[in-house]
């Protein structure tokens, strides 16, 4: 099996910092060419896991292989196979974008015309062709993140680690980065291990998602599988006349358990995805006129809530 045919595998991976167990024995498998979203609040153990998988931190226990190489024993081979854009774009404000790429390429042993070609190609690919000669201190947050991505790709790695790559970016920059990451996986077959605290990011980008909380993976699967497993769609109805709210409540309770709704509306969690037409038919047959009917699909936040007992937002504040 060639190196690029292998993804990431961890078995019982653990990391202890004195009395604190930051990663408490995680098992995961990321297939080649897959985008794996590693979702969790700050302090859940995401970055520690990435540091172990990228060889920057020796594990306290367990085992992990990246591109077929043992992270504890074959660090140099792992590093040659991976690219990493770690939390906070680690850039030198006094160097230009092109100088960063030149340094990174040279340290990876890329020289001469090949280096020049790669630098021009990557700057172009991440939309920094006109900013390559500017010092990084003049870059916006989005530009720094894009340069960070280009630096991670300079030696053509088969596996890419992105640690919260869009934190602090504006929506436009975030979307641009998502597009590029998606393209890398789909068109170039790069395996992507993406940590994020944004549910939407995991939902949009990841083929599979692992949810980590207090150093343990509490749920894993495709976003659709996780949502189907845990969450139920919610239907919220606003009656045309506020006086009909009590009658609406009685009708909707037949379709599921009551859940939070806006003032003047009533909502229930539906037992199945096919229940909405039945709700509409029931409203019609009871002659109950609705001003609005909203269907909310379950989100990864619902999954997080079900698995941890907290919303991701609430976990952030702990």
């Amino acid at each position: 099996m060639s190196r690029s045919d292998q993804g990431i595998e961890a078995i019982g991976l653990r990391r202890q910092f004195k009395d604190i167990e930051a990663v408490a024995g995680i098992d995961l498998r990321v297939l080649p060419g897959e985008i794996y979203g590693f979702l969790g609040p700050n302090g859940a153990g995401k970055s520690t896991t990435v540091h172990m998988l990228t060889t920057l931190l020796p594990p306290s226990g367990g085992r992990a292989t990246v591109a077929g190489f043992d992270v504890a024993k074959q660090g140099a081979q792992v590093r040659a196979s991976i690219g990493a854009a770690l939390q906070e774009a680690a850039l030198d404000p006094f160097l230009t974008g092109a100088e960063h790429l030149r340094l990174q390429a040279s340290l990876h042993g890329i020289r001469g015309d090949e280096r020049k070609r790669l630098i021009a190609q990557l700057l172009d690919r991440v939309g920094l062709a006109n900013a390559g000669t500017r010092k990084v201190r003049t870059y916006s947050g989005g530009m720094k993140r894009r340069l960070d991505l280009a630096l991670a790709l300079i030696h053509d790695p088969s596996i890419l680690f992105l640690d919260e790559p869009t934190t602090g970016l504006d929506p436009q920059s975030r979307t641009a980065l998502w597009d590029e990451v998606g393209r890398l996986a789909r068109e170039e077959g790069v395996t992507v291990f993406l940590t994020t605290q944004y549910l939407e990011e995991a939902d949009v980008l990841a083929d599979r998602v692992g949810i980590i909380d207090h150093g343990r993976i509490v749920a894993e699967g495709t976003p659709a599988q996780l949502k189907a497993q845990i969450g139920k769609p919610t239907v919220e109805v606003v009656p045309e006349s506020p006086d009909e709210l009590e009658r609406l409540r009685g009708l909707l309770r037949r379709f599921g358990a009551e859940t939070a709704a806006r003032p003047g509306a009533f909502a229930v969690q539906l037992e199945g995805h096919g229940a909405l037409p039945e709700v509409v038919r029931a409203l019609d047959s009871e002659n109950l006129r609705a001003a609005q009917i909203n269907l909310h699909e379950p989100s990864l936040d619902d999954v997080f809530l079900a698995k941890t007992g907290r919303t991701l937002e609430g976990a952030e504040e702990e």
Partner: protein, 255 residues
């Protein structure tokens, strides 16, 4: 390895010289102190046994040492910033060797040290300092000054790797400054009358670095002074490199 050292060193030199605010004051402050002391303490040259009638010539070597100390602060703070921003992790993910990283990282301090040495020597010559050992001696002065900058610079790296913060590095520098002041910077050791000060200056390696440089300026070829000056400087480099190397392994704990 050589290529890696060159790449890291070039980055260190470029970033140092692109921050004028960090290298202009360290370049000019020793000149100001030289100007003030060579005038204010000129009367010291009338002391019996004082080795020269030019206090500027006597004091000039201290400027090299002081400049080197400033340069080491810059090297330390720059590395601390790299640790803080994660740039060290970025480098750690490349095939760069720890030793190349360490040696290359002091490139900025060495570059600044070399610039300072040239400027101080030029200023000294412009104001009438006569180098007793001639052109060869002047080159040896520059060499020793750069080596001293390397030694102090490496010490700055060790402090950065140990503390991981620019504040941590800066907080240690008053101690190093104190060490340079309790030395033979202002008077030859045999003319220091306060016993404890003379004793401390005698066991202080900084005295021998200054005296090595000073011998080239005012005493001619003095093998013992040069041996001690170069010896203590090389020892400082060796000790600092060992300490910094050990600390780098802790800080850059890649597998």
């Amino acid at each position: 390895m050589r290529q890696q050292v060159w790449l890291i060193a070039r980055r260190s030199v470029v970033r140092t010289f692109r921050q004028p605010g960090t290298w202009i004051p360290p370049l000019t402050f020793p000149l100001m102190l030289m100007a003030v002391n060579s005038n204010g303490l000129r009367a010291a040259t009338h002391l019996p046994g004082f080795p020269t009638n030019s206090f500027l010539a006597f004091f000039l070597p201290f400027s090299f040492l002081q400049g080197a100390l400033f340069a080491s602060g810059i090297a330390g703070v720059d590395l601390a910033r790299d640790i803080d921003t994660g740039f060290l992790n970025r480098l750690a993910l490349t095939p760069v060797r720890g030793s190349a990283l360490l040696i290359g990282q002091i490139g900025g301090a060495v570059g600044l040290g070399a610039l300072q040495a040239c400027v101080y020597l030029g200023v000294g010559l412009a104001f009438g300092v006569h180098i007793d050992t001639g052109v060869a001696g002047a080159f040896l002065i520059l060499l020793l000054a750069v080596l001293i900058a390397t030694g102090w610079g490496t010490l700055g790296l060790w402090l950065a790797l140990r503390t991981g913060s620019g504040e941590g590095v800066q907080s240690q520098f008053p101690l190093l400054f104190f060490a340079t002041f309790i030395s033979s910077m202002n008077l030859p050791r045999n003319l220091i009358e306060v016993t404890w000060f003379r004793d401390v200056a005698t066991i202080n390696p900084v005295s021998y670095m200054i005296e090595g440089l000073r011998s080239l300026v005012i005493s001619g070829w003095d093998a013992q002074a040069l041996l001690l000056g170069f010896g203590f400087t090389v020892a400082l480099i060796a000790v600092s490199l060992t300490l910094a190397g050990r600390q780098l392994k802790v800080r850059m704990a890649r597998t």
